[in-house]
Amino acid sequence: MTSHLLRVSDQQTAALLGQYDAALASKRRRTLALAVAVSACAILAAWVGEVDLRKFVDGLPRFWSYLYDILPKLRFASFGADLAEWYWNWDGWLGLLAETLLVAYVGTFLGATFGFVLCFFASANLLKNTIVRSLVRRILEFCRTVPDIVFALLFVYALGLGPVPGVLAIAIHTVGALGKQFAEVIENIDMNPVDGVRATGATWVEQIRFAVVPQVLSNLVSYTLLRFEINVRGASVMGFVGAGGIGKELLSSIRQFYYSDVSAILLMIIATVFVIDLLTERLRHRLLGIEGHK
């Protein structure tokens, strides 16, 4: 059997092996160069970032003891009473949690509405006017690059403490983020329906209504739901700067070392985020499933 195998002559083998080694060596050199560059950046960043391993090792026991301290003291014998003590302020926190969710919802709704209107002006296939298009794009870029907390800080100063600045901050950030994503979806549509509708003499708005929106709606809703998920997380810390929601309560319990409150609030936030994630994922899969069916 072995005799049937084609044998490569020694000369050919040597040549091939040489090529193989050369290819491997050049790849190795590239990897090595990359590793050196990344390590150099890391060392520089560690120096700038005041990384101090001794401080970290010293602090690590504090991290574990902190985690231990914030754990509620639940005893089996008096479980009900302990639980009641742990969640002593559950109704107040639930109210704040509801406020957090509403801040996220109203902010996402506002942002998605404006993003929806603006995205058509940012899509290269719908708008030939480059000046308007690049202007809209710059505005969206600005809205999305400035972090929502920074907007919140400014709005808290202008509008006073409370959830309204948080809503506006989230809305502006959402306009930027969703406007860009919506425009990307729209730039990838099939243009044939648009041409068809235009051939009947439809105006620009009618073209969008009957040829563009039906193609993209489920995708846009899916992106909006994803953004709502992100905004719920964002709204949970808006209170850090006084812009409403449960963040203020969390910040003060961390700062004032009310240990069991920290874990109680964190657990509520995590559970809420988890449930929202699950729900929006379900909804999104259903939406995209409908899309896939067509």
């Binding site: 950046c41 890391a42 520089l44 960043a45 560690a46 700038v48 970032g49 005041e50 990384v51 101090d52 401080k55 970290f56 602090g59 690590l60 991290f63 902190y66 406020e99 509403l102 801040v103 919802y105 109203v106 709704f109 506002l110 870029e141 600005f142 690059t145 400035v146 972090p147 907390i149 920074v150 800080l153 400014l154 709005f155 100063y157 202008a158 509008l159 006073g160 409370g162 959830p163 309204v164 809503v167 994503q181 994803l226 992100i230 997380r233 964002g234 949970s236 810390v237 850090f240 700067v241 409403g244 969390l250 910040l251 961390i254 964190l266 936030i269 995590i270 985020v273 988890f274 994630d277």
Partner: protein, 288 residues
């Protein structure tokens, strides 16, 4: 001429109605459902506006004040604090870079444990996923507050906070990438007698590495943004100066800082998207 076209259209229409009954006569139940969803979402929005205390007078007054603030922002001017701001910016970049790198290095082995097709253990899979979800559910700013208790104020706490919250995200994304790998190369390595580690090294890693690297770069971008605000709670970076200047109402300084942030984020976006395209082409990656 007119009547001919309309006749043709009528015939066409009849045929089309027969072919696509759903489009010409959508079921009333569906229409009702869509209308109900629409009314409910708008209703919740209006209820939320009312509950959160939106009022037009307050908004109008706020916008007037905001207008004054924006007026005071021009011309943007760092005063004599430029060196300090640049240091803050460098800290921000260091936080984003080291935080992302640390998270990626830590998440890499964890992702294999959390992947269904490597450790085929339901309990481990479930537990590791839930732990990652919990870590992810806590915002970076909250982690920053916790790590300030551990290593004190400063950028080091910021690095650890970014690393921690990204650990959750990376663990999930990487393990999903591992789960969607093609099994053929892995089976091939197994058929030559390769151990589990061989299978991972030669079967899985070459498939997932480009995806993982592009995700890491994407998160470096987004961490640059979050590292700009982490200073608000005292964990280093340019956010500290930003919140200080807002509190002291030095609006020209604030404007300068915002412009610095915009330029830096744009530069990082540009570099990392170039690198990403070089790595995997224009393929879509999971947006956060």
């Amino acid at each position: 001429m007119m009547s001919r076209t309309s006749l043709l259209a009528d015939v066409d229409r009849a045929r089309l109605v027969q072919a696509f009954p759903d489009i010409f006569r959508p079921s009333p139940l569906n229409r009702l459902k869509i209308a109900a969803i629409f009314v409910m979402s708008v209703g919740l929005f209006l209820f939320g506006m009312a509950w959160l205390g939106f009022s037009f007078e307050k908004l109008a007054a706020g916008i007037t004040r905001l207008g004054v603030i924006v007026g005071l922002m021009f011309p943007p001017n760092p005063g004599n604090l430029l060196r300090l701001y640049l240091k803050g910016l460098a800290e921000t970049l260091a936080i984003a870079f080291l935080g992302t790198m640390l998270a990626a290095i830590l998440a890499f082995p964890i992702a294999f444990i959390a992947a269904k097709n490597v450790v085929g253990q339901r309990v481990i899979h479930f537990l590791s996923r839930r732990i990652l979800d919990t870590i992810r559910g806590v915002d970076t700013l909250i982690w920053a507050l916790i790590f300030i208790n551990v290593v004190g104020l400063g950028p080091f706490a910021g690095i650890l906070a970014v690393a921690m919250s990204d650990l959750g995200t990376f663990g999930k994304l990487f393990s999903e990438a591992i789960e969607t790998t093609d099994t053929k190369p892995i089976d091939g390595v197994a058929s030559t007698g390769g151990s589990v580690l061989h299978r991972i090294k030669f079967g899985i890693v070459p498939q997932v590495l480009p995806v993982i690297l592009s995700q890491v770069l994407y998160y470096f971008e987004s961490n640059t943004r979050s590292a700009t605000v982490i200073g608000i709670v005292g964990a280093g970076g340019i956010g500290l100066y930003l919140s200080n200047e807002i509190n002291q109402q030095n609006w020209d300084h604030v404007a300068f800082l915002i412009i610095m942030i915009l330029i830096t984020v744009a530069a990082i976006d540009f570099i990392s998207s170039r690198l990403r395209f070089a790595l995997i082409g224009r393929a879509a990656i999971v947006p956060s």
